[in-house]
């Protein structure tokens, strides 16, 4: 098995890109990613995307993206696992390179959310749930998260505002991320007074969906051009675990079991404990997901992750920094591309290129993406190559 390193990364700003189509966004990320990797040409591109076939009426992105972005002829396929697509595509690239069959693989996350009105795009997102038994009842991904939050408040006897620390941290970090959708910190008062959208949920408990594209180039360290001009990051752990698609098919919906198993497997491959990581880029598509992910990973007991947020432990200087560049809440949530953004951001932290949000001396990162309420969980361990 070969060692796998991240030779290059790229990302477009996340936001509402009315002027750019799916293929424009993809091409920007492909070209910038190749430049960052010293011009390496990938032999295969794994494309993470969820919505193109409905929102943009476009399938077969492998061919479209490759031919439009100067990769004509390369192997290219779409990898879809709802919100975990980006992590899943990275896993495929990791397997390809570590097998020795592929020398250079690109992971491209691209999502074009704003080609439809919001209600239609959200309906498209509901396809990631159980169509016969969840979305047919009028449930949406947001309502799933709200159901979990309501039960959390009940089981642990806490108030809704205990979740404030998650969006506050995300927005504070996004303020210094030039690629973030929302670059303004929010106050506790603003959170507590925000409009309720899916009781008990308010608008700050859900990350804003947006457009974006990001890329990674994975290869072996001996292939990286000597003059690449930046540090390298090794992938030392990689895992995908699935759980039931529907929330109602679980004995304990608050357990996020797949998230926990996937952390365990990735960490055991890397020979570390979760606590050995200097940062944890988790999935904060909803503030309740951030809490449940911290608990599933063992950073807090059930019902107590919000205390980590209250105590500042999830901040840049805390014991388990999360959403260090703003997370989905502050950076924005380009659905299928989100997992690639998370990996790009973690790689930049380990390269020492995170600007004002740099975690001093960061050497190791945990990165986890979720499809739905941890129906799919993908975890990677990244380590700075010294």
């Amino acid at each position: 098995m070969s060692d796998v390193v991240i030779a290059g990364v790229s990302q477009t700003p996340v936001g509402e890109h009315w002027d750019w189509s799916l293929r424009n966004l993809a091409a920007q990320a492909v070209q910038a990613g190749r430049r960052d990797a010293g011009g390496l040409m990938p032999q295969v591109v794994y494309i993470a995307n969820v919505l193109a076939s409905t929102v943009s009426h476009q399938a077969n992105l492998g061919s479209l993206v490759a031919s439009n972005a100067g990769l004509a002829g390369v192997e290219g396929v779409t990898v879809e696992a709802a919100g975990a697509s980006g992590g899943a595509a990275a896993r495929m690239a990791f397997l390809a390179v570590s097998s020795g069959i592929v020398d250079v693989a690109m992971v491209l996350g691209v999502e074009k959310f704003t080609d439809q009105a919001y209600a239609e795009a959200e309906t498209a997102l509901a396809q990631t749930m159980d169509a016969d038994y969840e979305s047919m009842q009028g449930a949406t991904p947001t309502s799933q998260a709200a159901l979990l939050m309501q039960r959390y408040l009940h089981d642990y006897n806490v108030q809704h505002d205990c979740f404030a620390g998650f969006p506050l941290n995300a927005h504070a970090n996004a303020a210094h991320n030039p690629n973030a959708f929302f670059r303004k910190p929010i106050s506790r008062q603003v959170y507590e007074q925000a409009e309720t959208v899916n009781e008990p949920f308010n608008i700050f408990d859900a990350a804003p969906y947006a457009d974006g594209a990001a890329a990674l180039i994975l290869t072996r360290s001996d292939i990286v051009p000597k003059d690449v001009g930046h540090g390298l990051v090794r992938i030392t752990g990689s895992s995908i675990v699935t759980d039931t698609l529907a929330l109602h098919d679980r004995t304990d919906p608050l357990a996020f079991q797949a998230a926990g198993f996937s952390i365990e497997r990735a960490c055991s491959q890397a020979g570390i404990l979760p606590q050995d990581a200097d940062l944890f880029e988790l999935d904060d598509a909803f503030s309740i997901y951030a809490a449940l992910s911290l608990e599933a990973a063992g950073f807090a007991r059930g019902g107590e992750a919000w205390r980590l947020a209250e105590q500042g432990q999830i901040a840049l200087g805390g014991s388990v920094p999360i959403s260090t560049m703003g997370g989905s809440k502050g950076r924005g949530n380009p659905v299928g591309a989100t997992g690639v953004y998370q990996l790009v951001e973690a790689a930049l932290q380990l390269r020492g290129e995170a600007g004002k949000n740099q975690i001093p001396g960061a050497r190791r990162a945990l990165v986890q993406s979720l499809g739905g309420p941890a129906s799919t969980a993908v975890t990677h361990v990244l380590e700075k190559l010294i």
Partner: protein, 135 residues
Amino acid sequence: MEVPRHWRLRQQRYALVGEVCPHCDAKLFPPRDVCPHCGQEARTRFTFSGRGEVYSYTHMSDAPAGFEQNAPYTVALVKLEEGPLVTAQLTDLDGKPVEIGMPVEMVTRRIRSDDGEKGILVYGYKFRPVLAGPR
């Protein structure tokens, strides 16, 4: 919306027909091809009583396409008395506040209207508060 698909699911939608595993006796709703508890085939029909309690709920003000006419509405996880959880809308609340643990029972209602060219109305289970009396 697809007619065959709704037809195929009619027993689940109108009568909460799930399965009982002939190997480990687990009651399953929605039905599964393989029992998640023992890993063997589960194909024996079992009709659920339709009684249960609210496990969690959320009031939705924004509805996805096909559900606009219902908005605002309440989506719940209902814990059936036989064990499984099911995702469904609550109905007939008449302003009554919803609480976790509230007893509910199944009723058949229109769950979705497709405004497309076929204009299909989809009927299926919702749950309403159990009004009074011993359960």
